[in-house]
Amino acid sequence: MEYSLDELMIATMAHQFSGEVMVSSVTAFGALAALVAKKTHAPELAVLATPESGMEVTPLPTLTLGQFLTDVQRGIPLTMEEIFDAIFCDLFRIWINPAQIDQFGNVNISAIGPWQRPKVALVGSRGIPEDTSHLSQIFYYVLHHNPRSVVSRVDFRSGAGNGPERDQLLGRSGAPSLLVTDLGVFTFSGPGGSMAILSLHPGVTREMVQERTAFPVSGFTESIEVTPEPTAEELAIIRKADPLEVRKLELLSGDKAAEKFVAIYERERQALHVAWPARSRI
C-alpha cells in the first residue's frame, strides 16, 4: 500500500508507546502516533486532546480546536498540577520536536547562537527540563534531518541528554531513548551515550545519513535494519483521524504550507462538527 513519509514516521512513533500512561498531543505527529498505538497494540494509553488536558479523547489534529475536542467529546479535564504529577511519577509520554538535537541527545528549543544575545531567539524550554529529569522514556522526532538540526553540540540545553552531568545528577531518569527523523530511527546507546543508527527508512542509505549529520553516527553494522512500513490498518487509522491532513503541514514550507494552513483553518470547525455534533453545556 502506498504511504508517505509523514505516515511512515507516525507509525514508527506509534510503535514506541506502551502501557497505561498519559500521552500528550502537542503536535499532529504526536497525536496521531498516540491514536494509532491506542487502536492497535496499546489500548490502555490515556490520550490527551491538548498538551495539558482532555483525557480519554480521540485526537483530531487541528490548528485551533484542541480544547474544543475535549468539550465535544466530554473528555476528562485535567489541571496542570495533574499533568506535572504524571510527569514526575513517570506516567507520561511525549514526542518532542526540538529545533536542535545533538550527538548525546541534548535538545534545544530556546535559542540559536548564544542564549544571552541569540542569533534566533526561539520559544524557551517550556516543560522539557521536567521531562528530561523524570521520564524513563524520552522520544524525539526531527522532520528535516540535516547538519543544522542534528548537530555536534546544541547551542543551548533545554533538555538534558547523556553525559557526566546526567550521570552525576539524574541517573537514567529523563535520558533520551529514541530519535525518529525523515531518514531513520536512532538510539543513544553508542559510545558515551551517543547517537547510533537503529534502522534506515526504506530507500535511505547510510551515506545519506552521514552526509546530513554533523558528527559521526555509530552503529553501522553490515546489515542495518530497514524501518518497517506502516500497515494498511495503521494507514487507515491515520487518514480517517486526520481528514484535513494537518500532519502534512509539518513537512511543508513556503506558499504550499501557507495555502494548506488557510484551507485547514477555514474548514476545521466543520470537520469537528461533522465528527462530533456540538452539544451546548448550558
Binding site: 495539558e52 485551533t64 480544547q67 468539550d71 541569540p118 520559544v123 524557551g124 521536567e130 528530561t132 470547525r269
Partner: protein, 287 residues
C-alpha cells in the same frame, strides 16, 4: 461584596514598576482586553510573569513598557515565533529570565504556601540553571542529593480571563485551566475579566469548574470576547487571521503604530467593531 470594576479602574490601581502575572497559555484564554487597557494606561517598567506567554507578552514588549520577563515559553504555537519577543530577546535592554513550566508553577506555589522556595529536579543537566540567576542548587538535608531550589515568585497583580464569573469574584473556567488558579492565589491583587457575569446562584451549578475562588479576587469585569485574538474554549477559537495581521504589523514601525491606533488606543467596544462586530466574530470564530 460587589467587586465589579471597569478594565480602566483595574489598571488605574497598577503602578509603574509593578510585577504582573498573566494567566492563559499562548493563544488560549489570555486576558487581552485587560492587557490592552494596561497598555493604554501608560504604565511602564513592568515585570511580566508567565508560564506559556503569547500575544500579551508580545504586545507589551512591542509597546516598550516591559523591563523584565519571567517565562517558560513565549510563542504563538501554530503561528510560530512571537516577533516582538524575538526582537527583544535578540537585541534590547529588557531582562529575560528563562524558567520552565513547572518551576513557574512552583515559584507561585511557594509564594502561596509562604515558603521561600520549593525543591525540584527539573532543570538539572540543562543550561537553564546556567542562564537563570534566580535558581540555586541545594543539597537534600535528608539524603544528600542535589536539587534545584525554585524561589517564591510574589506578583503584585494577576490578570486572568475566564468564561463566567459572579459579582463577588468567583470564576468558572471551562477549557484548559492553564495556571490561572496559581496566578490568582499568588498575586497580592487579582483582576479577572469574563465572557459573562452570572447572577445569584447560577454560577454554582458549575461545580468543580468554579476554579477561581472569590477570596483571591479583587476585581471582576464583564468583557465579552475579552480573550480575543486568543481563543476562549468552548466558545471561540483563536483568531489566526488577526494574528497574521498582527505579525505583519510588527514588521515595520509605521505599520506598528497604525496597528496600535486601530487596535490598542480604542475602547473594548470599538475594538470589537473593528474586528467585524459581534456578529462577524461569531461567524468567524464561534465553534
Amino acid at each position: 461584596m460587589n467587586k465589579t470594576l471597569t478594565a480602566e479602574a483595574m489598571v488605574e490601581q497598577i503602578s509603574d514598576g509593578a510585577s504582573i502575572t498573566i494567566g492563559g497559555s499562548s493563544l488560549s484564554r489570555k486576558p487581552m482586553a485587560l492587557v490592552r487597557a494596561l497598555a493604554r494606561s501608560g504604565r511602564k517598567n513592568l515585570t511580566l510573569i508567565v508560564n506559556v506567554g503569547g500575544p500579551e507578552v508580545d504586545l507589551l514588549l512591542g509597546l516598550g513598557v516591559v523591563t523584565k520577563v519571567i517565562y517558560a515559553f513565549v510563542g504563538f504555537e501554530v503561528m510560530g515565533l512571537a516577533p516582538n519577543f524575538r526582537r527583544a530577546r535578540q537585541n534590547s535592554n529588557v531582562t529575560f529570565e528563562e524558567w520552565t513550566e513547572y518551576t513557574v508553577m512552583a515559584g507561585l506555589d511557594a509564594a502561596i504556601k509562604r515558603v521561600p522556595f520549593l525543591p525540584t529536579r527539573a532543570g538539572l543537566g540543562t543550561d537553564v540553571l546556567a542562564v537563570n540567576p534566580s535558581f540555586r542548587t541545594i543539597t537534600d538535608p535528608f539524603g544528600g542529593e542535589t536539587l534545584v531550589a525554585v524561589p517564591a515568585i510574589h506578583p503584585d497583580f494577576a490578570l486572568i480571563h475566564v468564561n463566567y464569573a459572579d459579582e463577588r469574584g468567583n470564576g468558572v473556567i471551562l477549557g484548559d485551566g492553564h495556571i490561572d488558579v496559581l496566578c490568582a492565589k499568588a498575586a497580592k491583587t487579582t483582576f479577572m475579566s469574563c465572557e459573562r457575569i452570572l447572577h445569584g446562584d447560577e454560577l454554582q451549578r458549575f461545580g468543580r469548574d468554579v476554579q477561581i475562588m472569590r477570596i483571591h479576587t479583587q476585581g471582576v469585569a464583564e468583557l465579552p470576547w475579552g480573550a480575543h485574538p486568543t481563543g476562549c474554549a468552548p466558545e471561540y477559537r483563536a483568531d489566526l487571521r488577526h494574528m497574521e495581521e498582527y505579525m505583519e504589523a510588527t514588521g515595520d514601525l509605521e505599520r506598528w503604530h497604525a496597528y496600535q491606533d486601530r487596535m490598542v488606543w480604542v475602547d473594548h467596544e470599538q475594538y470589537l467593531d473593528r474586528m467585524g462586530g459581534r456578529e462577524g466574530l461569531v461567524s468567524r470564530l464561534h465553534v
